[in-house]
Subunit: 344 residues, 2 copies
DNA sequence: GCGTGGGTAGAAAGCGGTTTCACATCCTAT
DNA sequence: ATAGGATGTGAAACCGCTTTCTACCCACGC
């Protein structure tokens, strides 16, 4: 149970009214220094903490921000979440996390979960578009909640939802990668992983095509294989790729987990990365530098990323002006998983 | 903001009293089917959700369970958290996560954070003992909150704290490892990683010594090196080990991250794992099977682990009887990181 | 000397639910 | 026929805090 001592007890013992105590607690109105001191002593004595439910009820807000993300075990999300939490708490907000376990059905449940908690804001990571089963009820629900609660969508988009869109600049990230690979001499580049109905995937694929055509490099449709975001997806997509006649000399993976999966499968097939096949990942999770070879990856500034999300949503909650979309830079981090293609 | 429609609006429109609506909402008392139907229709129409703050205020509880853990980016914790959340939500509880970023100072802040939220229960993972700076204030705080709120400590212990202790059976886990290594022919075994003031480390080290002496194998003090729980710790501890004259033929790592770090450092030093050095990790995180060689590790049943924690704390919250400590089995999963020692 | 206004502090009205208590009805058992 | 027990419903108190409204005191100025 919570504390048993209430503001009334404090007031009685300090011989003032509850209003005065409350004023001291909130600083909402000036109080005589002497009175304040007297009350402070009592507050101190009982280590008093105002009951949050009561306070929220009165304030009409929860100072909680809901976070829905697809997979907390993916270091990209956990690292980002940790940063977000740090900044949120520094600003006296709390983060209520819902892990959707990569399931759309659960995502919808998460929405209900956060709505039930009356969060003041909603951060939605990895939003989907064009879902096979768009479930009108789910669409409705999102639209409804985002109309009521400031919402921010990270690397996603949702039709008919009023939200701030924070995205990583795929265009710049992919361009760096393609330029780098092309600079090494690669012309045959594949793109593996992701899901075609997830925004990031579409964006990265499109940016990839754009970057390739800018360099007058051909895009092989068959080298664009999507199968998810996990290590297993990486293994699977490489297996699929290997069944083709013609192979690329370099692969860009939708994220580092997929890249690690590709690495694993390549090893199984005795394909030497980077000698026979160059590989680049995304997100620069802390594992990227553990693999052999260490993974070249496109990195986020996690601290800035998390801070931006949190500051933006809080500003929205407080009714401040915010841009309707924010684009975050990514930075290629070169390690050991790429080489010039074998001349043959 | 939350919903604008209240129970009063519902009552007015359904032409009943608020009490009746409330009774229907909570099912706390029988209501005439006809009345219920009438009210249900209105409830449905507005998609009514009772205000949580008001409800909590009245109920005198939050149906939230606080979770403090040292590092959400460690797959062990994130995987376990995901399982816990799943079960908690299924039982109509919410999990409020605080990530302490491996900092004791933050841990204390987290305690205050969760106390502020008036959580009904507290799950404390990775508890510390014998901390260099035990900070009396911190000790006080923990004791105080655990006296008020059902607390459960996972793989830890805290002096003077009334809590259910859930731990993994290090004894059985380590015994399996030592038996296995010994069976392969290893007699010189080291134990790397962890922190000597963290309970798990102490338990695993002690169990290690016990298992060794059971097999009449000597324990080299200098092969017990602690430096934390991260990949970097793994690299560092192996570096330190390599400076010694005499080396072990097998290493047990405090967890898989440390093992991965050891793997990385070994590669740098051209030490072939498993040919020259066998390696075993703990936790069997999903990355264990990605490395080369795939990591032999002692695994948890995460589903059962998470469920047990959640069910136990809920039972405690509801005033039910619970054991004062629970021991969970671990299971050695053999992959490719161990071999018989080179005969030389 | 008295109206005026700034600085303090108390009383009381919410905030949106739950629950106790009281009161009808109606049904059953004596 | 009637006490007594369910059953169903409403009125009102209560959970703990914030905030408006009001009242008081005292210094100040005309």
């Amino acid at each position: 149970m919570g504390d048993k001592v209430t503001i009334y007890d404090i007031a009685r013992e300090a011989e003032v009214s509850v209003s005065t105590v409350s004023r001291i607690l909130t600083g909402s109105a000036p109080v005589n220094p002497e009175t304040k001191q007297k009350v402070d002593a009592v507050l101190q004595k009982y280590n008093f903490r105002p009951n949050r439910a009561a306070r929220n009820l009165s304030y009409q807000r929860s100072t909680m921000i809901g976070v829905i993300l697809p997979d907390i075990t993916n270091p990209f999300f956990s690292t980002l979440f940790a940063e977000m939490q740090r900044h949120a708490i520094a600003k006296d907000y709390s983060l209520l996390l819902f892990n959707a376990m990569n399931s759309l059905a659960l995502e919808s449940e998460g929405l209900a979960y956060l709505a039930r908690h009356q969060v003041d804001g909603l951060i939605f990571m990895g939003g989907r578009v064009n879902e096979v089963e768009p479930s009108p009820a789910y669409q409705m629900e999102i639209a409804e909640i985002s109309a009521r609660v400031p919402t921010i969508i990270v690397n996603g988009e949702m039709p008919g939802v009023d939200a701030v869109i924070v995205s990583t600049s795929e265009q710049s990230g992919i361009a760096q990668v393609v330029d780098y690979l092309s600079g090494l001499g690669h012309t045959r580049i594949g793109f593996l992983g992701g899901s075609s109905h997830i925004t990031v995937t579409r964006n990265r694929q499109q940016s990839f095509c754009a970057a390739m055509s800018r360099l007058a490099l051909p895009v092989e449709e068959q080298w664009l294989i999507t199968d998810g975001f996990s290590i297993e997806s990486g293994e699977k997509t490489l297996e699929m790729l290997l069944r083709l006649e013609k192979l690329p000399t370099a692969i860009i993976a939708i994220n580092d987990l997929v890249a690690l999966g590709i690495l694993k499968a390549a090893r199984r097939h005795h394909i030497d990365i980077p000698r026979q096949l160059s590989l680049v990942g995304f997100d620069d999770i802390y594992l990227a530098s553990v693999s052999t070879p260490e993974l070249t990856s496109v990195s986020h500034n996690y601290e800035y990323f998390g801070r931006t999300i949190v500051e933006t949503i809080i500003s929205r909650i407080k009714g401040g002006d915010t841009p309707s979309s924010i684009l975050l830079d990514m930075q290629l981090v070169i390690r050991d998983s790429c080489q010039p293609p074998e001349s043959r």
